[in-house]
């Protein structure tokens, strides 16, 4: 019997935590997503959302004792929550922290670095949990029977997306990625009239037929026009990516700290309209703190 996969959003905001009455629906915590296959638990990014996840893990029965932490990149909004992650202080806990290779583990270095005394009162070496530096082989790993593939994203300083596959289910986490409009694309497209934009073939290939694609679409076309090169995508470009890859569900992620819940709703409506016009057969929604999906 195939066990279901679960995905839960703990932090969906980009750049900086944004607690406010106008972010109450989609949430103000920075990136953190739980992906669970059977008893194997992955944590994608350690933004401020990981604090609530940690509190939740501690109360679960049975409590997980082995966690797999995958960091897309080490910009602040993806690591800042780790010092407040309660399971890291629990002696019985094992946390695998995945780096680039056997010899290089930048996430390990940066997560420990941000706990030096200049920044935080508790040092990394004082954590009760066993923090294990782990790595992929040729961007692939099989963890708890789940095939995990790391793939490159377009973001200043570099970034990785992650593909999780098991039992025919396919989940992709791809945040902090800029899809650059190409010559021939209609950009900006304020009236939503243009054809599908060109999307890197590698992205389409890795996400082909995914049950869920969680993708950075921090901007709309208008916002993106003034923020080219910042490493984030327009929601229309991401919609076109999902349509071309035939994904079943697209979660718009990494919401800009300046946009309100109402803005997010409007963005999603425009993406749904565009996908429909381009014959996309998918569900599009905004990633929202506290929402759990089952596949």
């Amino acid at each position: 019997m195939t066990m279901p996969a679960f995905v839960k959003f703990w932090g969906t905001r980009g750049s900086i935590p944004t607690p406010s009455s106008w972010t109450r629906v989609y949430g103000g915590n920075t990136s953190c997503v739980e992906v669970r296959f059977d008893d194997t638990m992955f944590i994608c990014d350690a933004g401020s959302g990981i604090r609530e996840l940690g509190k939740d893990i501690i109360t679960r029965q049975p409590r997980p004792t082995e966690l797999h932490l995958l960091i897309t990149h080490t910009h602040w909004d993806h690591i800042q929550g780790f010092p407040f992650f309660t399971p890291a202080y629990v002696p019985q806990m094992q946390i695998h922290l995945y780096g680039e290779s056997k010899d290089t583990n930048r996430p390990y270095e940066l997560l420990s670095g941000q706990m030096s005394s200049e920044y935080f009162p508790v040092s990394f070496s004082q954590l009760g949990a066993k923090i294990i530096s782990s790595h992929f082989n040729d961007s692939q790993a099989t963890i708890g029977g789940v095939n995990v593939r790391r793939f490159p994203l377009n973001h200043p300083g570099g970034c990785s997306g992650y593909l999780f596959e098991k039992g025919g289910r396919k989940i992709v986490y791809a945040t902090d990625n800029e899809i650059v409009p190409q010559p021939g694309d209609v950009f900006p497209d304020p009236d939503d009239e243009g054809p599908l934009r060109q999307v890197p073939k590698t992205l389409v290939e890795v996400t082909q037929g995914a049950d869920l694609l969680i993708a950075d679409a921090q901007y709309d076309d208008r916002e993106y026009a003034s923020k080219k090169g910042w490493g984030h995508s327009s929601s229309f470009s991401v919609t076109d990516w999902a349509v071309q890859a035939g994904v079943k569900n697209l979660a718009i992620f990494h919401h800009d700290p300046e946009i309100t819940d109402k803005d997010v709703d409007l963005k999603i409506q425009s993406c749904i309209k565009r996908a429909g016009r381009l014959n996309g057969q998918l569900t599009i929604f905004a990633a929202r703190e506290g929402v759990e999906l089952k596949f």
Binding site: R24, V25, R288, G290, E292, L293, K294
Partner: protein
């Protein structure tokens, strides 16, 4: 310094400690399906939505007996699909669980509800 500068400060026995607002009356407003329109107050920390003898009873055959569970956690109501046959939808998206916010549209079987916070 003259005492007149302090005249605006009036001695009082009124407590100035911030007072936590009482939990606002929250309810489900059924807008579609048999039984609508109706309002269902959420006055207990846990309620079952389902067919038959549930806290929020539904008549639809598409509803499971204990279809979904609403639970108060802290200040928030969470809804969870209780392994129902047809699932639950939040604002049109099939979910397993979610923290509810004012205005959310919840679909259970043939029924639709709006979650209201006061």
């Amino acid at each position: 310094m003259s005492t007149s500068q302090f005249e605006a400060t009036i001695a009082t026995s009124i407590s100035v400690v911030r007072r936590e607002r009482e939990l606002r009356g929250r309810y489900l407003e059924q807008i579609e399906g048999e039984g609508s329109p109706r309002q269902i107050p959420l006055e207990r920390p846990q309620l079952v939505i389902g067919r038959g003898e549930a806290d929020v009873p539904l008549t639809s055959l598409r509803a499971s007996r204990q279809h979904a569970i609403l639970t108060l956690k802290g200040m928030d109501f969470t809804i969870r699909d209780n392994e129902s046959h047809n699932g639950i939808f939040l604002n049109g998206v099939k979910i397993h669980s979610a923290i509810l916010r004012d205005g959310d549209v919840l679909q259970v079987a043939d029924c639709a509800f709006i979650f209201r916070e006061g």
